[in-house]
């Protein structure tokens, strides 16, 4: 597994981070003076009501957006001033995303979807196929490798999404409501899988969720309300 930070260091270090969006002349403070440390190997659940800034925080940690103020250090890299190109390369190397709506390419079969992040590596076709097969094996979908997303169930599509997220062996898995669009049974399968990735493969996972049942699988839960963190649930 990738190990970009010493084991006693935080893999994710968010200090005094603010995120402000502008709508015309109005400033919307989505995150305010936020501090968060996530250790390597941790499975963190991030909960909070809609509009509390969960996805914004996840986007910042995943290098999809930049903080307005504050320090954000992930996997040994200060993300604040990283140029776009470097940021994209950093994401490809360190972050695996799992989305609520799976976000698979409808024109590619499961195997080709999982292969996408590997196109950015120097692996040849045979090596890429090996990695893809291993990732599909982890999510127990080897038998559906040639199937297109439209022929897969929601749970299967999410498993393909997870295979795509782990195929490059990233440092950090960021999951944005990974069970939000699934029934309880499929959701449980996905949570089992994430838990196994955390426990057996040592993956650091940050999962945004609304669902207490899902957050119960995490090793720690933090709550976000009006742009600020707390360890207590929001009433």
């Amino acid at each position: 597994m990738n190990s970009p930070v010493a084991s006693n260091e935080s893999l994710v270090s968010v200090e005094n981070v603010e995120k402000v969006f502008r709508r015309g002349s109005e400033e919307i403070h989505v995150l305010r003076n936020l501090d968060l440390q996530v250790a390597q190997g941790e499975f963190l659940a991030l909960m909070g009501p809609s509009g509390s800034g969960k996805s914004t925080l996840l986007n910042l940690i995943g290098g999809l957006d930049r903080p307005s103020r504050g320090t954000l250090r992930v996997a040994g890299e200060d993300l604040h001033d990283l140029p776009d190109r470097k940021m994209a390369e950093w994401r490809a190397r360190h972050v695996g995303f799992v989305f609520q709506l799976y976000n698979l390419m409808p024109v590619l079969n499961a195997e080709r979807n999982v292969e996408l992040p590997l196109l950015l590596t120097h692996l040849n076709r045979a090596e890429r196929r090996q990695h893809v097969a291993a990732a599909l094996d982890v999510v127990a979908l080897s038998h559906r490798a040639k199937h297109y997303p439209r022929t897969l169930s929601g749970g299967e599509q999410q498993r393909v999404g997870i295979a795509r997220a782990i195929v490059t062996d990233p440092t950090l898995l960021l999951c944005d409501e990974p069970t939000g669009d699934l029934d309880r049974k499929s959701g449980d399968e996905i949570l089992n899988l994430l838990q196994a990735l955390n426990r057996e493969h040592g993956k650091t996972i940050i999962m945004v969720t609304h669902d207490p049942h899902a957050s119960a699988r995490a090793s720690r839960t933090v709550y976000l309300n009006k742009g600020q963190l707390s360890t207590e649930p929001v009433i």
């Binding site: 914004t56 995943g62 957006d65 590619l108 080709r112």
Partner: protein, 384 residues
């Protein structure tokens, strides 16, 4: 190459839309091929061997005749290496639709001045020995099924024989080939001495002259000397390079190059809009997916290249199909039965077409590609 599958799969996203766009590109390139062939037929008959040749015609019009006696005077002008003359015969074989070019010429002079006419030595000797002999290009010989030794009647409304007959008979003594593809192998050439003696009117007059200059770089100077020689005579001349003469001949129906460029410009502008719209629509529909690619680590440059590759692939496939079909459809030669003897889609224009296909792909793809490149990841993910 590793991105090819992704690009190819995206083209299959909306099969009907892609097929219709592809068809419009194919049709545009078929039209390109046909117009190239027509242009080639009308203005492309300038032989590569002819860059040292000038044409001398009547100053007023090509249909006005010049005295045959001008020939020795032309040969005496400094810089002129050789001269010969032609006259428009304007005949048909059996049926008005079998129209093709015939000209009375002086055989030795003609063959010497036009080395691209390939005639076997024994056939040349036969031509020199037969007063009513004629040589015909391979294309017409095959078209009419003529063989050496055959006597063929040609009817002309222009020239009447001394016995009042409009039908002239010639003995086919040779069949010539062209040294290159641009050489017209449809005409029939027969002997001027037979023609001049047998015609009832306008004896001693010819249609135009062909000259070879000693130094092609001094062609303009020689042309001026020729025209000066016959200035203030009853038949003043206009001397110009062979290419300009052929062009002027074709331009009797308009400026061919301008017409074809105009039509093609309109067609390709329309295709640019159609394909550009398809690509823009395709990118708009995929905003979320492009955001996912960026989230996975694809750089802005990657996304730009992927969209550009997609539009170029679409355009190149359509272009190659269109150019291939055009080549196939024009391979049968002149579709008019004699009006466009050099009707073919030249390889040079085929290559221009390939470049055009790539350029079209680039032009139609660049704006959607820039649009895709500038997408902010977080914004585009929200649009999934």
């Amino acid at each position: 190459m590793k991105y090819f599958h992704l690009v190819w799969s995206n083209l299959g996203r909306h099969r009907l839309r892609t097929t219709l766009t592809l068809l419009s590109i194919v049709v545009a390139f078929i039209l390109f091929g046909f117009l190239s062939a027509i242009k080639q037929a009308l203005v492309g008959g300038i032989s590569v061997d002819g860059n040292d040749r000038l044409i001398v015609r009547h100053k007023v019009s090509i249909i006005q005749v010049l005295p045959a006696s001008y020939e020795p005077r032309m040969e005496a002008i400094p810089g002129v290496a050789a001269a010969t003359h032609f006259t428009w015969f304007g005949g048909v074989y059996q049926d008005p639709k079998n129209f093709f070019m015939q000209c009375p010429v002086v055989p030795e002079e003609f063959l010497e001045l036009y080395p691209e006419i390939l005639l076997p030595e024994e056939e040349k000797k036969a031509w020199l020995a037969t007063r009513t002999g004629a040589i015909v290009g391979r294309k017409s010989a095959e078209k009419f099924g003529w063989k050496i030794g055959q006597r063929v009647p040609i009817q002309t409304p222009v020239w009447v024989k001394s016995d009042g007959n409009h039908v002239w008979e010639f003995d086919i003594v040779g069949i010539f080939d062209g040294k290159n593809k641009n050489t017209d192998t449809t005409p029939l050439y027969f002997r001027y001495d037979y023609f001049d003696e047998a015609r009832r009117n306008v004896k001693g007059q010819v249609g135009w002259y062909g000259l070879r200059v000693q130094d092609p770089t001094r062609a303009a100077e020689v042309a001026a000397l020729v025209d000066a020689e016959f200035q203030n005579s009853p038949a003043e001349t206009k001397t110009e390079p062979e290419g300009a003469f052929v062009q002027a001949f074709a331009n009797q129906i308009g400026n061919i190059v301008m017409i074809t460029a105009g039509i093609l410009g309109a067609v390709f502008f329309t295709i640019l809009l159609v394909t550009g719209n398809t690509m823009s629509q395709s990118v708009r529909e995929r905003t979320g997916e492009l955001g996912v690619l960026k989230a996975l680590g694809f750089t802005n440059g990657h996304v730009l290249a992927l969209v550009l590759l997609e539009s170029c692939l679409l355009s190149v496939i359509g272009g190659l199909l269109g150019l291939g079909l055009a080549r196939l459809m024009t391979s049968g030669g002149d579709p008019t039965g004699g009006m466009l003897p050099l009707f073919f889609f030249p390889t040079r224009d085929l290559l221009v077409g390939v470049v055009l296909a790539v350029a079209l792909g680039f032009a139609t793809g660049i704006f959607p590609a820039l649009q895709a490149m500038r997408l902010r990841v977080a914004d585009s993910l929200r649009r999934m």
